[in-house]
């Protein structure tokens, strides 16, 4: 379904010859990017290919070193995001930027004309406005009561309400269930029909193939190609993104039949510091040599689950049993002292697992120093270990004294993974292990996890890409609002079923469900 009118390919905006450097890094180099009126244009590229830099230039956050931006055929220089917004460009970021204490309607109306807010009339106009695009939202709902997909709707309405005719959506589907994604696509198509232009940034090729009219591929800061979606298939797209052919299948070695139980969680509940219940009576088990995937929407309790098992946050009730030892209520150091070897790779690597400004050696030290004798640090062995990890995992770095924040996302992930694997854990917990990694690095990580699995390590894999979860894991547990909605065998479950469970349907009630119930 190509909606481009072939006789008048009128441009909504064009960016020509855009270059931008950060220090010595060339983030954008002579990029050409043009979007027509009334089209959905995909912007594809691996991490570090310059997508976000380009979009930050379009939104006025960065000023380009070089190049021209034209909106509706008129050259513009954006000194700040205000200039970009007033040119009709609207950004919907992956991380929502809503004022929590306000209602949905106030968030939409804030920053528009007029000094006073009038909740009643605003509500009505916003309701009418949203219905025009086929979006439904209750403007009087408070922001913190909104679901993730509703928040996204508010974000989209916010930019449309300010008169945006060009919408940039940065990975809008990353936080949605398959069902919500379908609904979003309907809205986006409707917007296209009304003449809006949409820049759609996504890693998921099937979505791009399904939704978009044209695609521009970036690689290493350059624009590689712009073409019609109808003229290309997803394999060629990957090749253009990565620069060579890539095999996209993931191995799944069979779990050992003799795998004994490694982790048993029984009726675990906990609340956060504000008193909100985050996990409610969670029970599951995990065997040695098995990968248990955890799926769920953002904020479904995955983070709390990991941190509770790792001993970082306290639990209210329930039991965590590791190889027969009860570790509930123990601190991370007490857990290690008990002889329990467990590794946890948190979601926010630079914020929690690593010290960004320290070098690789000092970061390797993080898990070792406490068990050294005496008050002084012994750095010699750690340096040797660091060298070993850099070599084994093929970490690209000028040396072990290089600060980790200066490494690329994939190499940062390898540093922490290397440190944790080096402890030869029996249980490995990884939260969003491939988030922010390019395709190559992601596959390296999957292989490393599979190697650990073959070494009989039990792995709890928190993931977000359902395709990967279904291919990599042995079983998948789905969390919704802090509760388990079901545990299924990854070999036979479908994306649709998991999607239903992610939005709160219990496994027993899932359409066509029941037959995939995990054997345990």
């Amino acid at each position: 379904m190509i909606h481009v009118n072939p006789t008048t390919p009128e441009l909504a905006f064009s960016m020509r010859g855009i270059s931008k450097t950060f220090g010595s890094v060339l983030a954008n180099e002579n990029i050409h990017f043009e979007v027509r009126k009334g089209e959905i244009h995909a912007l594809l590229g691996e991490n570090g290919s310059g997508k976000s830099t380009l979009m930050n230039i379009l939104s006025g956050i960065y000023q380009p070193d070089d190049g021209i931006i034209e909106v509706n055929g008129v050259e513009k220089i954006f000194h700040s995001p205000i200039d970009s917004i007033s040119s009709g460009i609207g950004m919907v970021y992956q991380h929502f930027m809503l004022a929590e204490p306000l209602t949905a309607g106030e968030n939409i109306a804030a920053g528009t004309k007029g000094f006073f807010l009038n909740r009643k009339t605003d509500s009505r106009t916003i309701r009418e406005f949203s219905e025009k695009y086929g979006m439904e939202i209750d403007p009087d709902k408070l922001t913190h009561q909104l679901s993730v997909s509703e928040k996204q709707t508010v974000e989209i309405l916010k930019v449309l309400y300010r008169g945006a005719r060009i919408l940039v959506l940065d990975e809008p589907t990353a936080v949605l269930t398959p069902q919500e994604i379908r609904r979003l696509f309907i809205v986006l198509r409707k917007m296209r029909e009304s003449g809006c232009s949409i820049v759609f940034i996504s890693h998921k090729l099937n979505e791009v193939m399904d939704l978009c009219d044209r695609v521009t591929v970036l690689r290493k800061g350059r624009s590689i190609e712009t073409c019609n979606i109808a003229d290309i298939n997803s394999y060629d797209l990957v090749e253009k993104m990565v620069g060579r052919k890539v095999d996209l299948s993931i191995d799944r070695p069979l779990p050992r039949p003799d795998g004994t139980e490694c982790l048993l969680v029984e009726n675990m509940s906990l609340h956060d510091e504000n008193g909100y219940k985050k996990l409610n009576r969670i029970s599951f088990s995990l065997r040695h040599g098995e990968i248990l995937g955890v799926a769920g929407l953002a904020g479904g309790g995955q983070k709390e689950l990991c941190e509770a098992v790792a001993g970082i946050i306290p639990i209210d009730e329930g039991k965590i049993i590791f190889d027969g030892t009860n570790i509930s209520g123990k601190s991370p150091r007490e857990i290690i002292r008990l002889g329990v070897s467990m590794s946890f790779i948190p979601e926010d690597r630079l914020g929690m697992g690593l010290v960004a400004s320290m070098d690789i050696a000092d970061n390797i030290l993080l898990k070792d120093y406490a068990f050294q004798k005496g008050p002084f640090l012994h750095t010699a062995e750690v340096r040797k270990k660091a060298e070993q990890i850099v070599e084994d995992l093929d970490i690209m770095t000028p040396g072990i004294f290089h600060p980790v924040r200066k490494l690329s996302g994939g190499n940062i992930q390898k540093v922490i993974l290397g440190r944790e694997i080096n402890l030869s854990p029996k249980l490995l917990i990884t939260a969003y292990a491939v988030r922010g990694l390019d395709i190559n690095s992601s596959y390296t990580i999957y292989n490393l996890l599979n190697e650990q699995k073959k070494k009989n390590v039990a792995i709890l894999y928190i993931g977000e890409d359902l395709d990967v979860l279904l291919e990599l894991c042995d079983r998948i547990m789905v969390l919704f609002a802090g509760e388990i909605t079901g545990i299924v065998d990854a070999g036979s479950a479908t994306k649709e079923e998991i999607g239903q469970m992610m939005s709160g349907t219990k496994l027993a009630d899932v359409v066509g469900g029941g037959k995939h119930v995990s054997n345990r």
Partner: protein, 402 residues
């Protein structure tokens, strides 16, 4: 059109050179300011330099000023490492002096000097530590803002000392004048090379702080906690304990600075004993990037400015305002250098690439720039830059460049 861009890290020698050069830039700038005011910059600066380093007595005075400054900065740097913004140096110095003075008053007259000095040192450390721990405990357990808290603690300490000065510890032998009894003679710090041994203590403390931060487990924990509390938690550190230990050390060292000034220099506790060291040391700690060895050098520089300025006032009859201008400009360029070490100013170039297809064909396949095109583009850019002209070309529909 200019904008500011981040710079890559410079090699160490280069950034050191820029920092030193910045001091000279400050001198030139202040020269430009004082000439129109009728001062001869050459005589003024030579008086400044001579006043600070010119004679052995000048050098001794400079070092004497630098001693409490450097020790205070060392202490503050420990807290700053943990992102605990200890603005309470003044109060911690004062309380160190109060505790040390109390010991000197309580001990019998016949106490051995070494014993007395050691006891006063312990008391000074304790006084500063307590004064830092009070806001520290509130910060760690109740998440109060330590910047305001430590600042307010300065005034409480100041008023306590004033009360002691005017009322409680008022010396009956002073014929009605306010004042606290001086510490006994045997508590005066001995001198080596004409300067009280505070300079040796300062060097020793610098080495100690350096070792603590770089080579000990506690120092490692302090660094990790300062960078990221969640990471410290994740690694199994007891964040509260680490913070409180660090804050105690910080306050204690600052308190020790007060005790050393008391026993080495002024011998009597008074409300103005700090000489603003608690605030000046904040600047020193940051100018030194919290590095212990660098703190020693920067302290000498700041002390030289203070001492030299006083000499200018005496020798060349310059008013206090002029020396203030010189001090301010030198400090300003030193701080400005930090900016230029991290950022650079770039001129925005713009050029129009003449040979790129602008509106995509219906098939939409954009032409990939060939190497030949690239070369042409570069030439085009060079030409544009050379002529300082960037002009719209025919392929740009309405591109009226500039």
């Amino acid at each position: 059109m200019f904008r500011i861009a981040k710079k890559d890290d410079l090699p160490k020698w280069k950034s050191m050179l820029i920092r030193i050069a910045s001091v000279f830039v400050g001198l030139i700038l202040s020269g430009l300011v004082i000439v129109p005011l009728g001062y001869n910059p050459v005589t003024t600066f030579s008086a400044l330099f001579g006043g600070a380093f010119g004679s052995s007595s000048a050098l001794i005075t400079t070092i004497k000023i630098a001693i409490p400054l450097s020790i205070t900065a060392l202490g503050l740097a420990v807290a700053f490492r943990m992102k605990f913004w200890n603005i309470g140096g003044e109060g911690q110095i004062l309380m160190g002096c109060v505790f040390a003075t109390y010991i000197s008053h309580q001990m019998p007259q016949s106490t051995n000097g070494v014993v007395l000095i050691v006891l006063m040192g312990v008391a000074g450390f304790f006084g500063g530590a307590v004064w830092a721990l009070i806001p520290g405990v509130f910060r760690v357990y109740f998440r109060t803002n330590e910047t305001l808290f430590t600042l307010m603690m300065n005034y409480i300490a100041l008023f306590i000392v004033q009360y002691l000065h005017f009322v409680l510890w008022r010396n009956p032998a002073s014929h009605g004048f306010p004042g606290i009894k001086a510490i006994p003679l045997q508590a005066h710090l001995p001198k080596i090379f004409g300067i009280h041994i505070g300079w040796i203590i300062a060097l020793f403390l610098a080495a100690l702080v350096f070792l603590l931060i770089r080579k000990t487990k506690l120092g490692y924990e302090i660094r990790v906690v300062g960078e990221s509390e969640p990471t410290a938690n994740y690694a199994g550190m007891n964040v509260k304990k680490v913070m409180l230990t660090g804050i105690m050390l910080s306050g204690g060292i600052v308190g020790l600075a007060g005790m050393i000034k008391l026993t080495g220099d002024v011998y009597t506790l008074s409300p103005d004993i700090t000489g603003n060291a608690g605030f000046t040391a904040i600047v020193i700690a940051w100018l030194s990037n919290l590095s212990a060895p660098v703190i020693m050098f920067v302290s000498i520089l700041i002390a030289a400015l203070e001492q030299g300025s006083q000499i200018i006032q005496i020798k060349s009859g310059g008013s206090a305002a002029v020396t203030g201008i010189i001090q301010g400009l030198i400090l300003m360029s030193a701080l400005g250098a930090e900016f230029f070490l991290r950022y650079r100013v770039v001129r925005r170039k713009r050029y129009v690439q003449a040979n790129h297809p602008v509106t995509g064909e219906i098939s939409g396949t954009a032409e990939q720039p060939s190497s030949e095109n690239m070369e042409q583009k570069d030439k085009q850019q060079i030409a544009d830059d050379a002529n300082h002209v960037s002009e719209g070309s025919e392929v740009v529909p309405e591109g009226d460049a500039k």
